[in-house]
Amino acid sequence: MAIFDDELIKLKEKILEMGALVENSIKDSIKSLIEKDNELAKEVIQRDHIVNAFDVEIDEECIRLIAQRQPKAGDLRFIVTAMKIINDMERMGDLAANIAERALELNKEPNIKPYIDIPRMRDIAHGMTRDALDAFVNKDKRLAMDVIMRDDEIDDLKHAVISELLYLMLEDPNIICRAMRITFIAQYLERFADHATNIAEMVIYLVEGKIIRHTTMPE
Amino acid sequence: MEDIRRRIRYNKFWNYIFMIAGLTATFVGLFLLAVLFIDLFIDGSERLTYKFLTSFPSRFPAEAGILSAWVGSFLLLFVTALSAIPLGVAAGIYLEEYAQKNWLTNIIEINIANLAGVPSIVYGLLALGLFVYFFEFGESILTGGLTLALLILPMVIMATREAIRAIPNSMREASYALGATKWQTVHWHIFPYSLGGILTGIIIGLSRAIGETAPIITVGALTFIAFLPTPPITSEFPFISFKWLMDPFTVMPIQMFNWVSRPQVEFQINAAAAGIILMIMTLIMNGIAIHIRYKFRKKIKW
């Protein structure tokens, strides 16, 4: 029915709005750390409330569509995908807020060292998110698979950051608090990227009808 | 709103006019019928006695009765029924259920309908040539019965076909889907469900036959019969005799016509009395037909 098609389009738009918020949050949260911008950090924390509101709103809309439109085939997969990826995005919003909270704490003291790997991790995570959402919009299987591959990169970066910080902590115990906070930020970024990977896996389900979570990729 | 009300008043007015017209037409018909019957009754009721029903005709009006006439009518109807019913019903069933629907069966259907409209005297002529002379049945009850059978055969066939057509096809499909043959379907479903319509058609046919005069005269029914046909039950072996089929006979309408043609007023009264009897017989038969249709319609509602 035409009205159902309209509803699906509106649903997609809302998901993308939520995605944009989350993409911006991860950028802004790291920015607030690097530029020591406490106002920005507070804004990111506030923004998470909006992300959570989107989660609830889109979830309820999906349930209503299931009840009233009895979606089948492609429409069904789309709605199932929608419900799952907003879960991931809600967690991503939380993670960005967590980073902002750590930034507020770290901004009170001088930096241990210049931030190099953290911004790189941010770039990868942000890129994965943007591409996963693009793949969702365009039903682009290749892009989704590409995103899944990049998860390893960010995992490696996280290990590098943590190793380096450990070494620094052993040398100078005074920096331990700051170093721990930066470790957390690295963890949050890595988990952020994991959620982007989940979104990409759901896009594969959307396109092919195959659930590939928890399997190793053959290609 | 006022326009609508005016229009409604206008429509209702014409509704009222038509209702009056219809009622009038109905009552005119009923009224004339009532007048006829009352007139008949006034004229003839004094002669409605047991003696009237059990006496033979005579030159003396007071002595004359309709015994031979109503026995003749009865036996004739008996032969008619026995010949027309099996033949007509079987033909109707065959044409509806067994025959292929092509140009030939269409022509047959049209012709059967035409036969129902052929003037009855033509049947009389046919019967004269065929039964009286060719088969040499003579001027007998058998001939009279077969003649009337020919007359009502188209009606029986058409009534059977209409009754069968009223059966929805879903019944047939249900029967066949359970593995029934055509005969089983006809025997268990088609025939029982159409029985109401068939019986109604038969009785209407018979009630027409009872009043037929022209063909009977043509095949030689006599007008003055002072004897009854040979009784069917005899005292010697084989105890059943068919000789009565070949006996001469008369029927009620002929007896009435005979009396009406005589100058004496008393014979007119006799004729009226016979007319009452004939009407009663017809009304009873039609009443039975209506009752049967009512009973079957209650049982089977499509």
Binding site: Q70, A73, L76 | E173, A177, L178, G179, A180, T181, K301
Partner: protein, 256 residues
């Protein structure tokens, strides 16, 4: 997993009404003791296809079959002209779209199939009638009035009576031609429940224009369009990930 035996195999079935080819090159397997649904827009040939299984087309002129419908396990082609249609109908029963009980008693309706087979023994008839009415989930509602007219029953009950009537002859395949399209939702759901239970006893093929119904009751679904099978497969796959775009469009309501 449960053994999936085939009950019937349709091979290159073509069906002609006069010179019109109304079923084109139909190939399909019917799995034993499962429900196979036939869906598709009006005029796609699903009812025509269904009626091939019990040779209903033989009742009317100008119909012609080509190809085979092989009944297993004996491997006999039931649409061959060498096989008597009556024999086929003795093994394959049908329930129609509009309930069509005979204008007889409930008992006589269910017993008819057996009378046709020459079984007239009262006690056998009573036993079979009760068993069939129980299988059709109707016994409790009518056990006190099986000598009353079938027409007194409600629409849903009449349809269940027709199902009992079809079951009384222990058919190998039971064909349903849009069995609930004339019924209200509650009667419909009772019959769907019944179908889901019945498949333990008999193989079922159901034609339905209601996709939800096909999704609810069947294990396998075939989508037909203009006389051809467009797609055939397990119901859950057809309704989540159909292979053909035409199937997807029909199922999501974009046409038909």
């Amino acid at each position: 997993m449960v053994n999936e035996n085939k009950k019937a195999e349709v091979k290159n079935l073509n069906f002609y009404y006069g010179s019109n080819l109304t079923l084109k090159n139909v190939n399909l397997s019917i799995i034993e003791k499962k429900v196979t649904a036939l869906i598709g827009p009006s005029g796609c040939g699903k009812t025509t296809f269904l009626r091939c299984f019990n040779r209903m087309h033989d009742l009317y002129p100008h119909n012609r079959y080509e190809g085979e419908i092989i009944l297993l396990p004996e491997n006999v082609n039931i649409i061959s002209s060498a096989i008597d249609p009556i024999e086929v109908r003795m093994r394959i029963s049908m329930v129609f779209q509009k309930p069509n009980p005979f204008p007889k008693t409930i008992f006589e309706n269910v017993a008819y199939g057996m009378r046709v087979r020459g079984i007239n023994n009262k006690s056998i008839l009573y036993e079979t009638v009760e068993k069939s009415l129980r299988s059709a989930a109707l016994w409790d509602e009518v056990k006190d009035r099986i000598d009353k007219p079938a027409f007194d029953l409600s629409g849903g009950q009449q349809q269940r009576l027709c199902i009992a009537r079809a079951l009384a002859t222990t058919p190998e395949i039971l064909l349903f031609d849009e069995p609930t399209s004339a019924l209200d939702p509650i009667a419909t759901s009772k019959i769907e429940e019944l179908i889901v239970e019945l498949k333990n006893e008999v193989t079922i093929i159901i034609v339905t224009h209601n996709m939800q119904q096909a999704a609810r009751v069947s294990e396998h679904t075939a989508f037909m369009y203009i006389g051809e099978i467009i797609e055939y497969g397990k119901t859950d796959r057809i309704f989540t990930t159909p292979s053909e775009k035409l199937t997807e469009d029909y199922i999501t309501g974009r046409f038909g």
